[in-house]
């Protein structure tokens, strides 16, 4: 098993609230790992711990280790901005900037100091193609990203992440704002992206986790209850609490 991210004994506090309790988990390279569990179980918090987005929340404290390629991302000498370029994130609601489609995709590169040169256009095209959006938008790259339909906006957000060339992509309920057809398209895209990227996804949708993920982790009240290959967890869960949740008997 080729590990991309090794989470070891991770504890996370929001002020006095103990949000994650001694979580240990290995995310395998070029696989899709799903984090499932009821609302408030800490799955989004866990996802955001992987690119230090929790740093933005005042009062958030972390102990334990998150090793990315054997380097602790909470250790000294870590450039958080570089880390986030390496571990990209797609959010729950499609959230393009109120900029043109082109400027949205090239945002990460322009921040990194790349000037508007020919190379930039190529990366924009490649990223949009890899997010399956190029055909739909190639003739209107200068128009506002906010005019796109929701599912295309979400794929634009994927393209925006791809443009900064990450190794890992974190997805925080990327389909929860989309209809079933758009959801299917994003899921198909994820399966395609898995060939080149390591993906971790938070989802509320059991079927989605079962359809696309290779591994599933079930979290409850900040504790990791079970982490197994997805067919195993859905067909033969070891823990009673996991079984209750996936069969819909939970609360």
């Amino acid at each position: 098993m080729d590990i991309a991210i090794q989470i070891s004994n991770l504890d996370l506090f929001y002020g006095a609230f103990h949000a994650l309790k001694n979580v240990t988990l290995a995310i395998e390279k070029k696989k899709i790992t799903a984090l499932i569990g009821p609302s408030g179980c800490g799955k989004s918090t866990l996802l955001r711990a992987l690119n230090r987005m929790n740093d933005l929340i005042p009062g958030c404290r972390i102990t334990g280790a998150v090793l990315l390629e054997d380097k602790d991302i909470y250790g000294p000498g870590i450039d958080v901005c570089e880390l986030r370029k390496n571990v990209g994130m797609v959010f729950q609601r499609p959230n393009p900037f109120p900029l043109s489609i082109r400027d949205n995709v090239s945002f990460g590169l322009r921040v990194a100091g790349r000037k508007n040169s020919a190379g930039l256009d190529e990366i924009v095209e490649e990223s949009l193609q890899n997010a399956w959006l190029w055909e739909q938008v190639k003739d209107k790259l200068e128009t506002s990203a906010l005019d796109l339909p929701l599912d295309q906006q979400q794929r634009l957000c994927v393209a925006r992440v791809l443009a900064v060339a990450p190794d890992v992509i974190l997805m925080d309920e990327p389909c929860s704002a989309l209809d079933p057809i758009s959801t299917a398209k994003i899921e198909e895209l994820m399966l395609e992206l898995r060939r080149r990227y390591t993906i971790a996804i938070v989802t509320h949708n059991m079927q989605q986790a079962a359809r696309i993920s290779d591994y599933s982790a079930y979290l409850l009240l900040g504790e990791m209850i079970e982490f197994e290959a997805t067919p195993q967890i859905f067909e033969n869960p070891k823990d009673k609490r996991t079984e209750d949740y996936i069969t819909g008997r939970y609360g």
Partner: protein, 279 residues
């Protein structure tokens, strides 16, 4: 006894329309009155000639220049300081006792009558720092006066930028400063421009703080170390000393028209900026 909803609705509409009508009527009356008395006085000569006999005859050219320069210098000083403060307060500090005191302080500062700022400017810039009556003393004083307005409007505008934008920007590897430059400030611009416009309006219309600090010289200023007279001050002196009511109205009309011009210009520039960002 209960009034039927249909009647209360009609009553509400009447009252609201009445309030709007009254406001409009007062506004239109003031503008029409001033322009009616002032426009006949305005001519190219009035705009571009030097005044004679303290403004009894001749034009208002030096005061036009003074009105242009003084607010401009004041905004140039107040804008970086004000927006910088707003960015620091909203992006780099949490909501703690210190920032709450700063906010309370700026709110109090905003309510202080301009004459107080004028006195302060006179004592500090003009006498203590021995800068004398000059454009720089006046502009510094006006800058202090409008700082609270700029800080608060900029802060509101910055807070109104969706938190999600900052999150995405950070998640794409931008530092906080890059996020401020590329995401927060461009999106807060309309609000910031509103604050600038309000401030320019206050500077253009200010008399008390200006007389004490920039003086009231009718000569054309050659540098920021010369004294100057703004249109508002000119109008005040013409009317107060009974020099020329006619020219006072003329000056007032030019004043109103310039405020109109400044506001339309900033709206136009802002819309162009927004349109250019998202074609």
């Amino acid at each position: 006894m209960r009034i039927p909803p249909r009647n209360t609705q009609a009553l509400a509409v009447t009252l609201l329309a009445g309030a709007t009508g009254l406001t409009l009527a007062v506004l239109v009356f003031v503008i029409v009155f001033i322009l009616g008395k002032g426009l006949p006085v305005i001519s190219l000569g009035f705009l571009f000639d030097n005044p004679q006999e303290m403004g009894k005859a001749g034009g208002i050219f030096p005061t036009l220049v003074g009105t242009l320069i003084l607010p401009l210098v004041a905004i140039l000083i107040a804008l970086p300081a004000g927006v910088g403060t707003a960015v620091y307060l909203s992006e780099y500090t949490g909501d703690n006792l210190a920032t709450r005191i700063i906010r309370f302080g700026t709110d109090c500062l905003a309510g202080i009558p301009s004459i107080i700022f004028g006195l302060f400017g006179f004592i500090f810039f003009v006498t203590t720092l021995k800068m004398g009556w000059c454009i720089l003393s006046g502009a510094l004083t006006l800058a202090i006066m409008v700082l609270p307005t700029i800080i608060r409007t900029a802060e509101e505008a910055i807070r109104a930028v969706p938190a999600g934008y900052r999150e995405v920007s950070c998640s794409l590897g931008a530092t906080r400063w890059e996020t401020v430059l590329k995401v927060v400030l461009p999106n807060a611009l309309p609000g910031i421009v509103t604050g600038i416009m309000l401030s320019i309006g206050r500077c253009i219309g200010e008399t008390a703080a200006v007389i004490f600090t920039a003086g009231a010289s009718l000569r054309l200023p050659h540098s920021v170390f010369d004294s100057t007279r703004t249109m508002a001050v000119h109008f005040y002196i013409l009317a107060r000393e009974g020099i020329s009511n006619e020219n006072a109205y003329g000056t007032a009309a030019v004043l109103i028209l310039s405020v109109l011009l400044v506001n339309s210009l900033s709206y136009w520039m802002m819309n162009r900026f927004i349109a250019r960002r998202t074609k």
